[in-house]
């Protein structure tokens, strides 16, 4: 898969024809590649073979005569002769099917799998056709809910071990297992522990019978009534390839597509079941308008598109460009993002545009660093440095790929995260920086990779050490300083940093840094500093762990301050005809980012604020500032699928947009891989695609500015014309790479190839090292982990979880109850220090606000930290945080 192709081949004979097989390949795979399909139930190319079902029995001769062997368990060998259609093979397959069907209920007419069922299909193709079993079949209670979404029908189960193998091998959540033996074997969970896996939906997709079904699709359709389009998952920035299936203009199911470079056919349950929100009754069907904020009526009234768009255009005409701002845009397709960038920057002329809500990465950093692909990160024998969020929570399908690479391909993981992640138990080194000191820890780590520097820094006498290091004395003193700061991190000792650094410097086979925002209580520029230091490592490449769907596309399309398509800054664009003459004008000067926009709006300096699928109230790091910004902007225009909290609070004009399965376009994932998004159904009511809304507004403001930009393909063509980066994005390339998508070139590993000033520009001067703030340490116990913190005080860590109280999940019937109740998690060692009993309802209080939660202990949280989920129901963590503060100190109070 990711390994280099072996050059040698093994020649085998399949039904008399010579076939070249790959060494070590299983017979069943070699036959399939050469066009001979061998029936199977248990074999799955992405999991290890087990030989459970015996359906793939064929006759194999390795020199001792033909004998029946399961082809999924037999590796090919030179000169092997295979007969897949011999008398004996056919009889064996027929017999296996007859046995499998003995206890199978044959309730195909009412079974969801009927019509796409491997058991049904293969019985027709290879089976006996008649049964000799006249006795009563087995009966079990059914269906059994083994989780909130997945149902098990034991009568249909043929014990192929696919679901249990997936749970164990792929997901690492072995919460289902075979229990009992022989005739009594069954798939089961442990008493009281449901199959609560983020990946449970995959077991439904790979079940070769109808034994596992998922709530969103149960009894909704028959497979032959579904039409299918290849598309891209939209809930996170990984861009998993999916098959969207619909019937009668309604999306009914999303299945994972096996793109080798991306998701291997797997999906997280959020990617798989997130479509439910698109079918929600709460979708906005038509534009609506309401009177000014201070008027009597706050009720929306329904409006026509003409009226609503003219109202927006009027507001934009009336405002001077620097008093217009656009927030959001990661939900949009690349084409819509380009159209909105063009509208805002090229037509209106404002640069106050930010697709990230203060919770992302500096765009210059994302676009300016040498870029890694998922395959690069998972390359056998490589090393991954995770300085970012928990992949299991934020990029679950990336977690599956990384997990596979670590478990099976010898990839080594070093993680620098504020609390234990889903990969911690597989990590070679886990460093837990004290909130606010992440940058220092990364710097110490990077400096320590130089053995000379490390050795010298360890010497007692500073002078001696500096002498020993010779020309590296600067770095020695830097390392000393960084180590000193990092060592004040609770739980991070010098030895841990040193051994992690040795793992990095010894990285054979490539080093990939997965870089993203971890705790949202830490400001973004910590990551700038960390990235700056990371780039000192030779041959490091970066996989940016971006938040939200098409965040990468938004940055590439220029939906960020001081950026236009093609990774160019405003000052780099020529004076003549900007962007190949396609844009009427350009903003006069660089604009504001999300927090700048909200600050300006709160001051009353923003006349028109466009929320492009943004919900700053819930997503911006500082809820108070978001509130004041939304209330302070004169006219708030929302383009969204739902009336989210920010829209309810402040929007004057609401324009309903088409969802991800309702418009054509492309998606750019975190690697820069562009893949197709397909229109499968029509949007509700009169909702329009985002690009159409932008085009209409552009035309009203600047007639002729969008001439010829009608279908998304035309927009794509203009994008490829104005942006060198997007030049490879031809229709031909997209068609040819239908499954895996087209990879946009990033900055090369050498920093030479194209891009943003060769990857140097983002390296702005380093922030002053954050002093470890907080009151003096406790004198009675200098070893206390919570050095510098008073009794009952903690440093806040706020991280995202897969299930939260977000707008999309609120409208997914199968997932909306899965968000965990608000919990304040502290290290068990801190239980006494909290001043409140563990398990009690508490109020987590910062200088800026408070939330209510249950106090719990979690060994994955380092002592001294207190971890809350970002958007737990009723307890948004951004109430506690003020934008721009390095460290948030919180207390817990009984409540």
């Amino acid at each position: 898969m990711t390994a280099t192709e072996p050059e040698t081949t093994v020649e085998i004979t399949v039904d008399g024809a010579a076939v070249d097989a790959k060494p070590g390949e299983m017979l069943i795979a070699a036959c399939e590649r050469s066009g001979t399909y061998i029936p199977r139930f248990c074999y799955h190319s992405r999991m290890s073979p087990v030989g459970m079902c015996r359906m793939c029995l064929v006759e194999v001769d390795t020199g001792r005569g033909f004998a029946l062997q399961p082809s999924c368990m037999v590796p090919v060998s030179e000169g092997m002769k295979v007969s897949t259609e011999s008398e004996a093979a056919k009889k064996a397959q027929d017999g296996v099917l007859e046995f499998l069907l003995i206890n199978h209920p044959l309730d195909c007419p009412v079974c969801d799998k009927g019509g796409e069922c491997p058991l049904q299909d293969q019985t027709m193709a290879y089976g006996p056709g008649e049964t000799r079993f006249v006795e009563e079949k087995r009966h079990f209670p059914k269906p059994i809910a083994i989780s909130e979404t997945v149902f098990l029908d034991r009568e249909r189960c043929i014990l192929c071990d696919r679901c249990t193998r997936f749970a164990d091998e792929v997901a690492g959540d072995a919460l289902i297992h075979f229990m009992g033996r022989g005739n009594h074997t069954e798939v089961n969970t442990f008493t009281g522990e449901p199959f609560a896996s983020y990946f449970s939906g995959n077991t439904v997709q790979i079940c070769p019978v109808g034994a596992l079904t998922a709530a969103p699709y149960r009894f909704k359709a028959r497979p032959w009534d579904l039409t299918e389009s290849l598309s891209t998952a939209w809930v996170d920035s990984l861009g998993s390839r999916v098959a969207v299936q619909a019937s009668r203009n309604r999306v009914l199911r999303v299945l994972g597509a096996d793109a080798d470079a991306v998701n291997w056919g797997w999906l997280s349950d959020k990617e798989r079941f997130g479509f439910e929100a698109l079918n929600s009754e709460a979708r906005l069907p038509a534009p609506k308008i309401r009177a000014e904020a201070d008027s009597d009526s706050r009720e929306f009234r329904r409006a026509g598109w003409g009226e609503a768009l003219e109202a927006v255009a009027d507001a934009l005409r009336a405002a001077s460009p620097e008093r217009v701002a656009v927030l959001g845009g990661a939900r949009l397709t690349n084409e819509a993002q380009y159209m909105w960038a063009k509208l805002a920057k090229g037509v209106v002329g404002t640069d106050n545009v930010d697709s990230q809500l203060g919770d992302g990465l500096d765009p210059r950093l994302v676009l300016g660093l040498p870029r890694a692909t998922i395959d690069d990160a998972c390359r056998p024998g490589g090393t991954v440095l995770l300085v970012g969020p928990d992949p299991k929570e934020e990029l679950p399908t990336l977690y599956l790929r990384l997990r596979h690479a670590i478990v099976n391909d010898g990839v080594r993981l070093v993680e620098v995260t504020p609390h234990a992640t889903g990969l911690s138990h597989l990590a070679e080194h886990s460093l837990r920086p004290r909130p606010g000191t992440t940058a220092e820890l990364v710097r110490a780590l990077v400096l320590a990779t130089d053995p000379d520097v490390l050795r010298s820094a360890a010497m007692e006498e500073p002078v001696l050490g500096a002498l020993a290091a010779g020309s590296k004395s600067d770095r020695v003193s830097e390392l000393r300083a960084a180590l000193t700061t990092a060592e004040t991190s609770f739980g991070t000792d010098r030895a841990g940093i040193e051994s992690a650094a040795r793992a990095l410097s010894g990285a054979q086979g490539g080093l990939v840094a997965v870089l993203g925002r971890m705790s949202l209580a830490e400001p973004a520029d910590i990551l700038d500093d960390a990235a700056r230091d990371l780039s000192r490592l030779p041959s490091v490449r970066v996989l940016p762990a971006l938040r939200r769907g098409n965040a990468m596309g938004a940055l590439e399309a220029g939906l960020a301050p001081d950026l236009v398509p093609g990774r160019m800054r405003l000052e780099e664009v020529g004076d003549g005809a900007p962007l190949a003459g396609c844009w009427p004008r350009l903003p006069a000067s660089p604009g504001l980012d999300a927090s700048g926009i909200l600050r300006a709006a709160a001051r009353g300096d923003i006349d028109v604020l466009v929320l492009l699928g943004a919900d700053p109230l819930n997503d911006f790091v500082d809820r108070d500032l978001a509130y004041r910004g939304l209330r302070g902007a004169s006219v708030v225009v929302a383009v969204d699928l739902f009336e989210n909290d920010s829209v309810s609070l402040a929007a004057r004009i609401v324009l309903p947009a088409a969802g991800p399965t309702e418009c054509d376009g492309t998606f750019t994932n975190l690697e820069g891989r562009v893949s197709i998004m397909s229109r499968k159904v029509t949007p509700p009511g009169t909702a329009r695609a985002d690009w159409m809304i932008a085009a209409d507004l552009s035309e009203r403001l600047e007639p002729g500015s969008t001439d010829g930009l009608d279908p998304p393909q035309a927009i794509r063509a203009e994008l490829a014309r104005v942006s060198e980066v997007h030049a490879p994005l031809t229709e031909e390339a997209l068609t040819q790479n239908h499954l895996e998508g087209v990879l946009l070139a990033g900055v090369g590993a050498t920093g030479e190839a194209g891009g943003w000033h060769g990857g140097k520009e983002w390296r702005r001067s380093r922030r002053q090292a954050a002093p470890v703030t907080g009151p003096a340490g406790r004198e009675d116990d200098p070893e206390a982990p919570a050095e510098g913190l008073n009794e009952g005080e903690f440093l806040l860590v706020a991280t995202r979880t897969m299930y939260d109280d977000g707008m999309m999940l609120r409208h997914c019937p199968s997932s909306r109850d899965l968000a965990a109740a608000a919990a304040a998690r502290i290290n068990p060692a801190d239980a006494d220090r909290a001043g409140v009993e563990v398990g009690a309802a508490v109020r987590v209080v910062s200088d800026f606000g408070h939330i209510e939660a249950t106090l719990t202990t979690d060994a994955g949280v380092p002592a001294g930290s207190l971890r809350v989920d970002w958007l737990a129901p009723g307890a948004p963590a951004n109430r506690l945080i003020a934008a721009g503060t390095d460290v948030t100190v919180v207390r817990v109070e009984a409540w």
């Binding site: 297992h177 033996r181 089961n188 442990f190 522990e193």
Partner: protein
Amino acid sequence: MTLSDANEAQAAEIIGWFPRPRSALIPLLHLAQAQDGYLTDGAMRRIAELVGATPAEVKGTAGFYEMFRFEPVGTYLVNVCTNISCLLWGGEELLEHACESLDVEVGGTTDDGMFTVEEAECIAACTEAPCLQVNYRYRGRVTPADFDRLIEDLRAGRAGIAGHGVLAQVRQSIPAERLAGVVPPEQAREAPVWLARNDVEAVR
């Protein structure tokens, strides 16, 4: 119910015998069953923690083996053999007598929680037919009268058979001449040959 303090200590020792904690799973299941007579959910959860598996994996593994039990049993589990030799020598009658005298169905437990009677397939003591086991300790050539005496002795604590709970702490005494020559792990000088070399390194 989880593991008692004494059994926790023993579990730690057992885990130390193996190159990987997971390998200790089956011995730990025996330990837990000896403690409670059956595998409680709490004990399986604790074992899962100890060996680094999920409770589902622990239960799944235990479920493969017939002699691990998931339902409570009496202090003394009486297995009466009714296989061919015992059948010929009155095993059926012995089982019937056991059930009648203890007033239980086959598989049932007496009201006082002292005895559970089960029918066993061959327990490999055909020379001693009809035979039975009490908590896996053998009694051979058992007549109904012998059975009544045995029950009386068990009730009086004279039978020399421990009830579960302390079973794990009581070693069966095997005469020296009948030992198979297996060296106890703690006395072994060399790692067993079946351990791969890198495993041996890992152990050290």
